[in-house]
Symmetry: C2
Subunit: 429 residues, 2 copies
C-alpha cells in the first residue's frame, strides 16, 4: 500500500538503508519532503564489524538496528520492508516485489554490493562471502563446526583439512578475518578441546596482488603482514585462486586441502544499473555524474558501493562506509538546494583515513600524513568503531563484549545455529 505524498511535498524514495541511504535520510531532516525508505532487510547493518559476528566475538544484535526504529522521530519518513524489482524511469515509479509501485519525484539508489567470484559463481557454496548478518552466522557456523568435526575425526589428513582455514583476499575484511580466526584458534579455543590441539590450526590468507592491505601505505602493509605472521597466519601473495571445492582450494598451481574457504576477494554492485539500463563498469557499478546523478536522469541519484566515481586525485573512491556516508550527505544537500531553487558544487570525496585491525592490540591506521600502527592504533581503532555505532546501548554492549575478548579471550557468541550436528557444514539452510 502506498500513500500519495501530502500535496505540497516532494516525494523522495531512497532504496537501501545502508550507510549511504541512511545518511541521505538523516541529511533530509527538516526539508519539505516526504521520504519513503525501502529496504529488503528490516535492519541497518554496521558492516565494518560484521567479521566479528562471523568469528563469534559479537552478537548479531550488537551491530544491527531496526531501520524504522532509527527513524521513529521522523514522521515524514515511511520505512518500507520490501524488495525492489525495478525502476520505471518514464513513469517515475519504483517497482516492488508485491506488484505495487512507488511514485517518486527524486530517487536515491543506495543498494550496495554483494561479493563476486569473477565469473566463478560455482565457487559460492564452497567459499561464502560476508555481506549480511546471515552470511556472518553462516560463516560462524562453518568455522565452529570445522573445529567440532576435527575433534571427532580420527583420520589425520581429514583432520588437518578441517583445521585449515583459507581466506581469499587480503583487503581489510580478509586481514581482519584471518587475524581473528588465528586468535580464536590460538587463544580462545585451546582449553575447550580434548582430542585436537587448536594451536595447530592453519590460517592461510591468499592474495593475488603483491601485498596485503593494498589501500594502505607500503610500510603499513609490511607491518600488517609481519603482525599476521606473528600470530600464525600464513600469508600467500601474488597467487590467484583458480579452484574452490568442498575439500580443497587451488592457488598458483598448489592444492591445499581445506573444508573452510572464505571469500573476501571482490564485490559486484547491486542490479541498480540493470534497473535503469544505465552504463556501468565491469563490477556492475553505475557511472554517475559529478553531482552523483545518473547521466540523462537528473532526478535519480546513486551513492555508495553501487557507484564508481573518482576522487579529486583521479583515484576511485573506495567502497567504505565513510565514502557512502559522504555521498548520502551530499545528495541530501543537493536535494535541499534544488528545492530552494539553488545548486551546490560537485561531490568531492574527502578521505579521512583507512583503518584495519589485525589482532588483539594490533591495528594499522593510514591518515595520509599520519600513519599509526600497534597498540596505539588498536585503541584508536576500537574507540572509533564504538563511536560510530548507533546508540548508547550498543556501545556499552560492544564495549562489554570486547572487554571479555581482551581480558579473558572469551567470545560470547560461539553459537552453532541453523543446524544440529547432523547438518553438513556446507549446508546454509
Amino acid at each position: 500500500m502506498t500513500k500519495a505524498p501530502a500535496e505540497p511535498h516532494h516525494h523522495v524514495v531512497i532504496v537501501g538503508a545502508g550507510f549511504g541511504g541512511l545518511e541521505a535520510t538523516f541529511g533530509l531532516a527538516g526539508a519539505p519532503v516526504q521520504i519513503t525508505l525501502v529496504d529488503r532487510r528490516n535492519h541497518h547493518l554496521f558492516q565494518p564489524l560484521l567479521y566479528q559476528v562471523a568469528t563469534a566475538s559479537l552478537a548479531t544484535s550488537e551491530i544491527a538496528w531496526p531501520i524504522r526504529y532509527l527513524l521513529r522521530d521522523r514522521p515524514e519518513v515511511t520505512t518500507l520492508f520490501a524488495t525492489v524489482t525495478g525502476v520505471d524511469t518514464q513513469g517515475k515509479l519504483v517497482l516492488l516485489d508485491d506488484g505495487d509501485a512507488l511514485p517518486y519525484d527524486t530517487l536515491v539508489l543506495a543498494t550496495g554490493a554483494r561479493h563476486a567470484y569473477f565469473g566463478h559463481d560455482e565457487w559460492e557454496p564452497f567459499a561464502p562471502g560476508l555481506k549480511t548478518l546471515e552470511d556472518a552466522t553462516t560463516l560462524r557456523r562453518r568455522i565452529l563446526v570445522a573445529f567440532e568435526r576435527a575433534e571427532r575425526e580420527s583420520d589425520p589428513q581429514r583432520r588437518a583439512a578441517l583445521l585449515t582455514f583459507v581466506i581469499v583476499g587480503a583487503g581489510p575484511t580478509g586481514v581482519e578475518l584471518a587475524g581473528t580466526i588465528a586468535e580464536l584458534a590460538q587463544d580462545t579455543l585451546p582449553p575447550d578441546f580434548r582430542n585436537i590441539d587448536t594451536h595447530k590450526a592453519r590460517v592461510v590468507l591468499i592474495e593475488a596482488g603483491p601485498r596485503v592491505l593494498a589501500g594502505f601505505a607500503d610500510d603499513l602493509s609490511a607491518y600488517a603482514q609481519r603482525s599476521l605472521e606473528s600470530i600464525g597466519v600464513e600469508v600467500v601473495l601474488g597467487q590467484a585462486v583458480t579452484e574452490c571445492t568442498a575439500d580443497h582450494v587451488v592457488y598458483g598451481g598448489n592444492r591445499l586441502d581445506t573444508t573452510t574457504i572464505i571469500w573476501a576477494a571482490g564485490v559486484r554492485a547491486s542490479p541498480a544499473a540493470e534497473w535503469l539500463d544505465a552504463p556501468a563498469d565491469r563490477a556492475g557499478r553505475l557511472q554517475v555524474l559529478p553531482d552523483l546523478t545518473i547521466p540523462g536522469h537528473p532526478d535519480i541519484f546513486a551513492v555508495g558501493d553501487t557507484v564508481v566515481i573518482a576522487d579529486p586525485d583521479g583515484k576511485p573512491v573506495p567502497g567504505i562506509a565513510p565514502a557512502a556516508k559522504q555521498q548520502g550527505r551530499y545528495v541530501a544537500e543537493l536535494i535541499k538546494a534544488r528545492l530552494r531553487g539553488g545548486k551546490i558544487a560537485a561531490f568531492r570525496y574527502k578521505h579521512a583515513g583507512s583503518l584495519a585491525q589485525i589482532g588483539k592490540r594490533k591495528a594499522v591506521i593510514d591518515f595520509g600524513r599520519i600513519k599509526l600502527r600497534g597498540t596505539i592504533a588498536w585503541w584508536i581503532w576500537g574507540i572509533a568503531h564504538i563511536y560510530f555505532l548507533i546508540g548508547l546501548r550498543n556501545r556499552l554492549s560492544v564495549a562489554l563484549s570486547w572487554l571479555w575478548v581482551y581480558v579473558r579471550d572469551q567470545r560470547a557468541a560461539r553459537l552453532i545455529t541453523q543446524g544440529s550436528s547432523k547438518a553438513s557444514p556446507t549446508s546454509t539452510s
Copy 2:
C-alpha cells in the same frame, strides 16, 4: 572417534547438555570417572528466557553458552558435538549418527522434550513452538514480519489478521509470550510505524483448561489473568484449539483470522524411550524407578523432561529447570556412592517455587506458603533469573538489555534474519 577411557576409570556417557545433563556433569567433579557429554547442539540453552529471544528482548548469545567452554577446566570431560541415534543396551554402547559407537559403564539420558501437537503434527508449520534458539529466531521473525506486512497491507481484513497474535496454552511460557508480545505492540513499536496503529494489535491467549498458570495457586492465576487483560491480552479459557492453518485458528467452534499462531500447549519427550524400548507414558516420557534408573537397566539413568516421576505427594514432578537440575545432581551423587560401594536414598523432588513474568513490573511467585505478586515479585523474578545465568558477562549483558526495555521500551534484538522481505512469513528456511 572415541578414545577408550583410561584404565582405572569408569566411563559415564551423558546424553544432553540441558539443565539435567549439565548438572550431572558438574556433580561428578572429582569422581574417579571419565565423562563423555554428547549433545547435538554446541550450546547449553537457558530455556526459561527463550521467550525473550522470541520477542526481541534478548540476543541469542545472552542465554546460550558453548558446552565445551563450560567444561574447559574439567580435563576428564570430553564434549562431543554429535547426534545420538540409539542405544545398544546389550553391548553398552551409545550409537552416533556417523556410525561410531560410544562404550559406557553408566549412561545418563537427559535428552529433554520437544513441543507436541496431540496427534496434529500437521499444525506445526502454522503454529511453531519454542524449544531451541532456532525456534526463537523463527518466532521472532514471524512476529516482526507480521507487523511489517500489516504496514504494507491496505485490505482491512488481511491487516487485522496480520495484527492478531494467537498463543495456544497458558502455562508459564504462553503467559510470558502473550504478555511480552502485548508490550511489544503497546510500548515498543507504536512510534516506528506510519500506516498501522500497533496498539490495535490483538493478542489472544487460548487455554483448554479452566485457568491460566494451572501450576500456581488459584488467586495467583486470577491475578495473572487480570494483569494480562490489563495490558490488552484477550484470555480465552476452557476452549480447545481444533484447527490451525496459515490464516486462521479454530477454537471452541469459533474461527479467528490470524497469520501468527504460537504453540505453547504441550510437549513430547525425546525418543529416549524408543532407544531403550522401555515403558513410557502417553507423552513418551520414560518411567523410571525411584533412583531414576530404567527398570531392568540399573546402569542407565534418565532425568529431566524425558522422564515422568511423582514427587513425595504423588503429584508428577513438573518439567522445569530446577527439577531437571535436582535429578542431575541426584544421579551424580548416586554414581559417586556406587563407585564407593555405597548407596543413597531414593530421589525426592523439593519444589522450591514457581515463577512467571506477566509483563514489565508484574510477576507471580508461588513458594507454597508464601505467594507474591506485582512489582516485588517482578524484581525477585528478574534477580533470580540473572542469578541463574552462567557467568558475569551474560549477567551484565542481560541486565543491560533489561534496563533498556525497562527504561526506554527499546528491544535491541528486533532483527528479521534468515529471510528478506521476499520470504514468506511461514518460511523457516
